[in-house]
């Protein structure tokens, strides 16, 4: 019998100190430890903070139906919208939520294609964030159309008037982009979950015989059925893994152009119009960079508390992961800052007086406060991440990410509102303010988002167990820790 416990005969020269990297899972944790740690979140007693958090978020999410029912039963007049600002908070919130979603797809798809193995620790939670954020985003265009009972006219469904949707409109492209984005994100997320749901199924199966109390037995039975059904009979077979990995690669390859196209098409909603401040070719790349910027901020806003609250999670989502996410935030934040400057330059260089006026008006007009709030949050705060201390101190990163979230919301406000409120003719000018219904609906979506995210943390593995196992040295058959001998 071969001796499995003595891989010490293999010597691998350590890299020079300056090239040594912090491992992806700290403290040489075994693969068994990984499934135990992640599964314990689901198996252990619900922590008290979770009950407090879900109570707050659940109560906050009640604001959403309140806002919606009041809006629908009374009419769109209850919003602050009027001539000339006909796109207000609803569209700002829509673009903000969709943008947040983009980080999840970037992590799951683009970083996968680029072979960034650190993505495995954060991709599950980030993809969940994507799905919930797109759900929140989808609410807004749906109610913004005014007569919500005609929402189904957005889709190519035959109706009594025999008229089809108008496919030359970017707004309709957006319907297809966002619904495809949501569907593909769900498919990708679910496929990643299959092996981990099988892990959960098997864990509940293993302890089934040892559970005595009737309530616990029922819980075990329900868990076995739930995880068993959704893991589709996964056995970890290599003949299955072969197709699975190929499908994963293909989905990553499909999601990459998808995520780039979604925010590009969202930007077409603006860029294809004739309005100064909207009608610019920089919009697609600028929107995509901004989306990734805000999305990464939101991933960190969510992950930093989670890794502190759940035992062992900070060994899976390490400081190195936070640092890398900060670097992505810094890069995309710099692109956004560059775009702000370039917009101004092109407005001047174009020689178009209306264009130049739109930009001067942004910085020094009635809405100057929103512009400078946006600039200070989005242009200054990411540059703190040039400093290593700022990138590696979780509480500090968390505060910066809040500023980025605010700044990116302000950016959409600046784009939507300042361009509309003063266009070509002074007789057409006006000032827009939201009403309590706008505010109520927006805060309600935040509660809805947090509620879904908390439920996800409680009932589904919030780390991609199988994927994280795969990037540890224990999973490498050519590494001594994976059992390799010479």
């Amino acid at each position: 019998m071969a001796d499995h416990s003595a891989p010490s005969s293999v010597t691998i020269a350590p890299p020079p100190v300056e090239l040594e990297r912090e491992p992806l899972v700290a403290n040489q944790r075994s693969i068994g430890w990984l499934s135990d740690t992640v599964a314990n979140v689901i198996e252990d007693k619900t922590p008290r903070w979770w009950w407090i958090a879900i109570t707050i978020s659940g109560l906050t999410s009640l604001w959403l139906p309140l806002g919606l029912i009041y809006l629908i039963s009374t009419g769109v007049g209850v919003w602050g919208l009027n001539h000339p600002v006909a796109w207000g908070w609803a569209i700002v919130n829509f673009v903000w939520w969709i943008g947040i979603g983009h980080a999840g797809t970037l992590i799951s798809a683009i970083l996968f294609l680029l072979r960034q193995k650190w993505r495995t620790s954060i991709n599950r939670a980030a993809e969940a964030m994507t799905i919930f954020a797109v759900m929140c985003a989808g609410i807004f265009p749906g109610i913004h159309v005014g007569r919500v009972w005609f929402d189904w006219w957005l889709f190519p469904i035959p109706n009594a008037n025999s008229i089809w949707p108008q496919f030359r409109s970017p707004l309709l492209w957006d319907v297809f982009a966002v619904s495809t984005y949501f569907t593909v994100s769900v498919l990708f997320w679910y496929m990643g979950l299959i092996p981990d749901l099988a892990t959960m199924r098997d864990r509940f199966r293993k302890v089934a015989g040892k559970v005595a109390a009737p309530a616990a037995r029922l819980r075990n039975k329900v868990a076995q059925i739930f995880y068993g059904l959704f893991s589709l009979g996964w056995t970890g077979s290599n003949r299955h893994w072969r197709n699975y990995e190929k499908a994963y690669l293909l989905l990553a390859g499909l999601s990459t152009p998808l995520v780039l196209s979604v925010h590009s098409i969202v930007s077409f909603d603006f860029a294809v119009s004739q309005l100064p401040g909207w009608h610019t070719t920089i919009f697609p790349p600028y929107f995509v960079a901004g989306a990734v910027f805000s999305g990464f901020a939101m991933v960190m806003t969510l992950m930093i508390p989670l890794r502190a609250l759940y035992k062992g999670m900070d060994e899976i989502v390490t400081t190195r992961h936070l640092e890398l996410m900060c670097k992505v935030t810094l890069t995309t934040g710099s692109i956004v800052g560059y775009a702000y400057g370039m917009e101004f330059f092109i407005a001047y260089y174009s020689g178009n007086p209306y264009e130049l006026y739109a930009f001067k008006n942004r910085a020094f007009g009635d809405y100057y406060w929103s512009y400078w709030l946006m600039v200070s949050c989005n242009v200054i705060s990411p540059h703190l991440f040039w400093f290593k201390w700022c990138r590696t101190t979780p509480w500090f990163i968390w505060i910066v990410t809040i500023f980025v979230n605010i700044g990116m919301w302000m950016e959409r406000f600046v784009i939507v509102v300042t361009s509309l409120h003063n266009d070509y003719m002074p007789g057409n000018w006006g000032y827009y303010s939201p009403t309590w219904v706008d505010v109520c609906t927006y805060i309600g979506t935040m509660g809805f988002f947090m509620t879904l995210f908390l439920l996800f943390c409680r009932f589904l593995p919030l780390i991609a167990i199988a994927e994280v196992k795969g990037v540890t040295p224990f999973a490498d058959p050519h590494h001594p820790l994976g059992g390799a001998k010479q």
């Binding site: 492209w173 892990t199 072969r242 197709n243 190929k246 152009p257 196209s261």
Partner: protein, 182 residues
């Protein structure tokens, strides 16, 4: 012939391993011995296992490709039919159908149906979902999604001979070999 066990049909022999390297080398030996109906079960995909088992490239790509193709041309056809053929909608003197303005929607449809093709193709090729599997009744096999590695040779295999197969699995270094029933 009183016990139910007497009537049970063997599904196959299951051998347990502790590390990915062990299961990889075991797979090489089982493949070299000429077995065809067998598999390895691991908590995560192991690099090099496809070669060790002698498996060819996965065919999922065809499902993705056909899905994407249907999406693109289906999307174009839908727009042409709706905005040009069935009910022409003249807007701003632009043509009722143009491949350029139709491109974004057709592009999204390509991705949508390509993604369904990938997931559906993966499930179809894997013969999933399945509600029952003999291995999933085995309590020890529950570790296959945790931290153990398995080689399973099915009794259906033309080369399967219980004693001989058990001998082969023993030689690969497994410390636990078990007969799993259907």
């Amino acid at each position: 012939m009183d016990s139910l066990d007497d009537y049970q049909i063997p599904y196959g022999l299951m051998a347990e391993f502790d590390t990915p390297a062990d299961v990889l080398h075991a797979a090489e030996k089982v493949h070299a011995a000429g077995y065809t109906r067998w598999d390895t079960h691991t908590p995560f995909p192991i690099h090099g296992m496809d070669d060790a088992m002698g498996l060819k490239n996965s065919q999922v790509g065809w499902f993705t490709f056909i899905g994407g193709l249907c999406g693109f041309f289906g999307g174009m056809l839908m727009i042409w039919y709706m905005n040009s053929y069935d009910y022409g909608l003249p807007v701003g003197g632009k043509p009722n159908f143009s491949p350029f303005s139709s491109f974004p929607v057709a592009y999204e449809m390509t991705i949508l149906l390509g993604a369904f093709g990938s997931l559906g193709g993966m499930l179809f090729l894997n013969r999933l979902p399945r509600l029952h599997h003999p291995l999933l009744k085995n309590l020890r096999f529950a570790e296959a999604t945790h931290d153990k590695f398995y080689v399973v040779i099915e009794a259906d295999d033309p080369k399967y001979e219980e004693e001989e197969t058990r001998e082969l699995l023993k030689k690969t270094g497994s410390r636990h070999i078990e007969l799993v029933n259907e």
